[in-house]
Amino acid sequence: MKYKSQAVAKPYFIAAIGLFLGQIVFGLIMGLQYVVGDFLFPAIPFNVARMVHTNLLIVWLLFGFMGAAYYLIPEESERELHSPKLALAMFWIFLVAGAATILSYLLVPYASLAKWTGNDLLATMGREFLEQPLPTKIGIVVVALAMLYNLSMTVLRGRKTAINLVMLVGLWGLAIFFLFSFYNPGNLVKDKYYWWWVVHLWVEGVWELIMGAMLAFVLIKVTGVDREVIEKWLYVIIAMALISGLIGTGHHYYWIGAPEYWQWWGSVFSALEPIPFFMMTVFAFNMVNRRRREHPNKAAVLWALGTGVMAFLGAGVWGFLHTLAPVNFYTHGSQITAAHGHMAFYGAYVMVVLTMISYTMPLMRGRAANGRVAQMVEMWSFWLMTVAMVFITLFLTAAGILQIWLQRVAAEPMSFMAAQEQVSLFYWMREVSGLIFLIGVLLYIGSFFIKGKSEAATT
């Protein structure tokens, strides 16, 4: 760690990991409710658990991105953060607001929550991933703006590199596209447009910039490859991501009442979206193979490589699987979608945040890398989580294919619930894989508490 103020990243990362654990617990609750319908009834209904699961995911990833930004931007800009105090204040605001929101989901009926929080003034609630009550949404904007101010000032007065510029543009994009969540038109088609302009333009647009910048940052550090080489890759990757991703939004317009030509435009452009993800994989492996030094933090290298591979599998391969209109006609909104959503979110964004944490946490705790045992445990947790996620994806895909067959293709289509009944075996297997994933998370958390001889801090 070169600058004292980088340490504000630490509370962000700790909060992120804590919420991650919460997310997984609620995933498991839901997974069980899929097969044991009245589990925890009436304390935690499925729809509430689902909201908690997905919102915790988004919130902890945001914590991760923010922490990463507060660490990365000063180092790249070669100066202290503009205002560490502001960053810390925002952390507490975000944490309290986030926790209050999650608790209110669990303790108050959603409709009452809407009534109390001014949803009748400006209706924004009720859409997947964007369920937050109005005050929380405004809080997110305030926290994001304060962060952007803080980071932009740092970059403006410091060194400008491809990495900190891409990171900054990505974060600005994240904040700007979030503004679409404040508009909730009554027209269902328009409603869907605005929803996708947040969700799709996030994960298949600006978040890719954030991810690319984080990956490039860690790769420079752990491989010692020339900055020029890495920056060239970064530029090409983000250019491809934006070209394909923006018009690629059309792959969500097929059946929502948008004009028919979107079936062509959405199919062709989104078919190119795997390219940037593929390039990230090649990028990571290429840089590690050309490394100029053996960084003692082996775990961080493993996470970086894993991010490349799993992001390509989850977003690239599983995304491509159902992105062409004639295929999506059958798969739309089935378990195939859930399979893709899980692996893509895990492979791209969960893993890139964990990569960043893995690289920076030892440095913030005063050492170049953790001791051997701690790293071993961390690598075990990597494999447990990753393999478990692969199996979750495979079981959901199998469930999805069967579901589509029974419900949408067969000569005598079954009703939704009857088809679900038929595939419950896969849901049981998903739940078992989920338990293994949970063990992975627990090991991961445990690895932070293992003491032992550690490498001396150098950078």
């Binding site: 090409v236 250019a239 070209i243 028919e260 030509y261 062509w264 062709v268 452009f269 078919a271």
Partner: protein, 175 residues
């Protein structure tokens, strides 16, 4: 830049083939709709783009010999052709919209308007790139020893030309 160009060629290639194969399922409709196009305007546009590409070749040759000033003139000539292309194309689109034709009219017009507009945006981008190169050349920013900026801009412009060279016969001529 070459990576970019390849990606663009890939996109256009996929759309060209989509057009060709979508047509096989609807030959009559495509042929009938094609008759409504203004082939003359398309042909003039082809001449304009080909010529501008040629002018760009001359511009690159001039700067290779260190002649910034005449490089600028050739680039301006190329941009004039590009500008004329855009004007004609707008007139063509305008006439179609006047006639009540949109992307939703039928599959043929979806491709004609969609691909045409997509290519149009590339001409605009190409003009922006050429404009930046011209400005720098005008200020004497290139020399016989260093002119890779001109070459890069030229490569992009030729790509835009190349795409049109296929687009024109495909959509306006073949039936």
């Amino acid at each position: 830049m070459w990576f970019f160009i390849l990606a663009e060629l890939l996109v256009f290639g996929v759309f060209f083939l989509a057009y060709a194969f979508a047509r096989t399922r609807n030959v009559e409709l495509f042929n009938a709709s094609q008759l409504e196009l203004d082939q003359l305007s398309g042909a003039i546009n082809t001449v304009l783009l080909i010529s501008s590409s040629y002018f760009v070749v001359r511009a690159v040759d001039q700067i290779r010999h260190g002649r910034s000033r005449s490089c600028t003139y050739w680039l301006l000539a190329a941009m004039t052709c590009g500008g004329a292309f855009l004007v004609l194309k707008l007139a063509e689109f305008g006439a179609k919209i006047e006639a009540g034709i949109t992307m939703s009219t039928n599959t043929f017009f979806m491709f004609y308007l969609g691909l045409g507009f997509f290519h149009f945006m590339h001409v605009v981008l190409g003009m922006v790139i050429l404009g930046a190169v011209t400005l720098k050349a005008w200020k004497g920013g290139y020399s016989a020893a260093s002119y890779s900026g001109v070459e890069t801009g030229a490569a992009y412009w030729h790509m835009v030309d190349l795409v049109w060279i296929i687009l024109f016969p495909l959509i306006y001529v073949l039936h």
